[in-house]
Symmetry: C2
Subunit: 390 residues, 2 copies
C-alpha cells in the first residue's frame, strides 16, 4: 500500500462501561460512546463529515439494520456518508481503519468510528462466527479451536497451565484499576485453574466474557485538533488484512497476524522495542501468549515465560492489556477494537489514573475476527504515537 | 469533499441471474458474480488488492458473519483487507463507493465490490429495515410508506394510477429483453391495476420482488485497464450520503436524494441533459416517478406524464431502467446497486444486445436504503462515462 498523504490523529475517544446494560439499546450505547469521543475531541456533532459504525451482532442477533444511522440520528448528525461495517471481533478496528484511511488520504477531515454490541445471543449463534458450516458442525467453535491451540503450544514449547492462568490473573489485576471494566475483581491462579472446564485446558476464567458496550474514536487531520496544549495521539500505522486460509498451518501462530504486525512496523518505522504498552485480543488466555510472540515481545514459544516473569504486568517492562483486556474489561465484539484505542489514547495522554504507564509514548493494538481455514478472517493492527514526546 | 487524485474505472462487472436460487449459497452466488467481474476485467483473483462485500440480509436473516471472506476464499483470494458492509438497499452501492474511493485516492489499484443477498425472510424481518421500532409497530413499513408517498403525489400533482402502472409495464418490457432478469414476462396496465392490492394504491405488480442474486464490479486505476481496445467506463461521480431525518418533509421527495444528485452532477461536471440512460431504485412504481424528478429528467410533479410519454422507455429520449429495474430484474437488496452498475457498464460498452441504447455515453445509477424520520437512511448516486466517446 502506498504511503498516506498526511497524518491522522485520534483526537477523541470514548467508551461506555462494559458489562450488562439491559436497560440500554444498541443505539443508546453507541450514541453515548460517540458523544464522549466528540466531547473528548472538543468537536461538535456537526463537525463530523463521515462515520463508520461497526456491530458484529446487531443484525446477526437483534435483526437490526442501519445501526450507524440510528446512532447518528440520536446525536443530530445527518446528511453525511454513513457505512455500517462488520468483521466479527475485528469490527471496531475495521471502522477505525476506514476512518483513518479517509483522513490520512485527505478524503475527509473529521471522521467518527464507533463499535457497539450487546451480548444477547441465542445459543451457538456467535461462537461459530466465521467458520464454515462444516467446521461449526464438527465442533470447531472458538473455545474448541483455542483449546487445540493451547494444547499445541503446550506440546511445542512446554507452556504450562499456570503460565496461561497468569494472563487471566494479570488482566483481572489490571481490570481492577479500570472503572469502565466489566470485572473489577482480582482472581488467583488457583481460581482460574479450578473454575469450570470449558474446553480442555481452557477453564471459565481462561475465556473472556460476552458483554454489552460501545466505544468510539474521532479521527481527524492536524488542523482539526482542538486542544493544542494537549498531547497529540497520532495513528502511526493502521493495517487491516484477512487470513491466508492454510489448513496445514502450525496452530501456534496466525499468518494474518504476522503479516499485519510486520506491515504496521514497516509503516510506522517502529519495532517491538519502541512499544510502551500493548492491547491484544485476549479472547482466551492462550491468545494473549500467542499475540505477544507475534508482536515480537519475545521469541516464538516465549509467551508463557514472558507473562510469568511479570514483564507484561503494569509496572513491568512492557505492559500488555493495561485496561484489563477482553478478559476483565469485557468483550462486546465490535466495541473491543475501539476500546483498545481508548485505552492507548488515554495512556499516551497520561490520563489513565491508577493504571497509568509513566511516560508512555507508543502503543500497539492488535485484534482479530472470525476464523476460517485455520487463520483469522480479519486481523487489524494499529500503532499510536504521542508525537509531543521525544 | 475534495477532488480525488485520479480516475477510477469499472474495468469489469458481473452478475448472476436474479430470481430464485434455492440450490446456491450466498457464498456461491457472490463468488459467481466476482469471477464474472474479474473475467470481464481481464484480471486474475490474485490481482485484487482489497474487497468490499455487501449483504443486507446475510447476518440479518441467515446468521452469517464474514461473508466477504467466504466469497473470496472460494476464489482463492486471501491476505488482503476485506470489509463487510451493510446499508440496507444501498449496500451494493456502498461497497462500490468504498472501492471507488480506494482507487480514486490512490490507496489501491484493483478493488472488488460485491453485493449478494437471498430472499429468505422470516415474516416482517426486512420490511422494517431502518425504521424505528415505533414506526414499524405503527405500520410504517415500506409498502405502507410508499403508499402514502403515492397518495401524496397523486394529490399534489394529479399523478394517475395508469401513469404509475406504466412504470411497471415499461420495466417488465425492458426485463423481457434481459436474460439475467427475474421476470421476462411483459405485463399490461390492466394486469398491474388488477393485481392484488398491497397498500392502497400500490398493487402487487407495483412492487418489486424479493430475489436471490449477486452482482460485482472490479474498480481499478488507469494502468490496470487490461483491454486497451475496449471502451473504458470511468466513474465520473460516486456519492454516498445519509438522510436528513425531517419528519415534516414533503413526502414527494427525499432530501438525501436531492443532495446526492446535486453533488454527483457537480463532481462530474454533467447534468440531466447529458444522460443517455438511468438506473433508479424502482422498489415501487411511484419510486421511479420520484427518482426521475429528483434526477432532473423532468420538473417536480412531472414524473407521471414523463413515463406516460414513452420518453423513459427503450427507444425514448432517456431510457430509465433499461435492465428492467428492480421491478423486473428483481431485487436482492445488496446486489441491486451493483446490478445497476453492470447494466450501465454493458450499455456504455455497447454490449447490451437487444436492449442496447445506441451510442450511450453517460449513465446514472441511483439507489437508496432504509427509511428513518421520513428520509432514506442511505442514498447513493453514481455517474459512469464512456470516456472514449466524444
Amino acid at each position: 500500500m502506498p504511503e498516506p498523504v498526511r497524518h491522522a490523529y485520534v483526537s477523541g475517544a470514548g467508551m461506555t462501561p462494559f458489562g450488562r446494560h439491559p436497560q440500554r439499546s444498541l443505539t443508546g450505547l453507541g450514541s453515548m460512546a460517540c458523544l464522549e469521543a466528540l466531547d473528548d475531541a472538543g468537536l461538535a456533532p456537526a463537525d463530523v463529515q463521515a462515520a463508520y459504525c461497526g456491530s458484529a451482532m446487531a443484525a446477526l442477533v437483534q435483526g437490526e439494520s442501519g445501526l450507524g444511522q440510528s446512532v447518528l440520528w440520536e446525536l443530530g448528525i445527518h446528511g453525511i456518508p454513513v457505512v455500517n461495517v462488520e468483521n466479527a471481533c475485528a469490527t471496531g478496528a475495521t471502522a477505525l481503519h476506514l476512518a483513518w484511511r479517509d483522513v490520512a488520504w485527505g478524503v475527509r477531515d473529521v471522521v467518527l468510528a464507533v463499535g457497539v454490541d450487546k451480548a444477547v445471543m441465542p445459543k451457538g449463534s456467535v461462537l461459530k462466527a466465521g467458520t464454515t458450516q462444516l467446521e461449526a458442525q464438527l465442533g470447531d467453535v472458538f473455545p474448541g479451536l483455542f483449546a487445540l491451540i493451547a494444547q499445541k503450544h503446550m506440546q511445542a514449547y512446554g507452556t504450562t497451565l499456570r503460565q496461561m492462568a497468569r494472563v487471566s490473573v494479570k488482566n483481572h489485576d489490571h481490570g481492577a484499576l479500570n472503572p469502565l471494566a466489566q470485572f473489577n475483581k482480582r482472581v488467583t491462579i488457583e481460581q482460574v485453574l479450578e473454575s469450570p472446564m470449558i474446553a480442555e485446558p481452557l477453564t471459565l476464567f481462561s475465556c473472556c466474557p460476552n458483554s454489552d458496550g460501545a466505544a468510539a474514536a474521532v479521527i481527524c487531520s492536524e488542523r482539526w485538533l482542538r486542544d493544542t496544549r494537549r498531547d497529540r495521539v497520532r495513528i502511526a500505522a493502521s493495517v487491516l488484512t484477512s487470513g491466508d486460509y492454510d489448513p496445514m498451518r502450525d496452530l501456534t501462530f496466525w499468518n494474518s497476524e504476522s503479516r499485519a504486525v510486520q506491515q504496521a512496523y514497516e509503516a510506522s518505522g517502529l519495532g517491538p522495542g519502541d512499544l510502551d504498552l500493548v492491547e491484544v485480543h485476549d479472547a482466551f488466555t492462550i491468545s494473549e501468549i500467542l499475540h505477544c510472540e507475534a508482536i515480537g515481545l519475545c521469541e516464538p514459544g516465549g509467551g508463557g515465560p514472558l507473562v510469568e516473569s511479570g514483564a507484561t504486568t503494569l509496572g513491568g517492562r512492557i505492559p500488555v492489556n493495561p485496561s484489563g483486556g477482553l478478559q476483565a474489561r469485557g468483550h462486546p465484539p465490535a466495541a473491543s477494537g475501539l476500546a483498545q484505542i481508548f485505552e492507548i489514547a488515554v495512556q499516551l495522554r497520561g490520563e489513565a489514573g491508577p493504571r497509568q504507564i509513566a511516560g508512555a509514548r507508543v502503543g500497539l493494538a492488535q485484534i482479530m475476527g472470525g476464523s476460517k481455514g485455520n487463520d483469522a478472517q480479519a486481523c487489524a493492527v494499529h500503532i499510536l504515537v504521542n508525537d509531543r514526546l521525544p
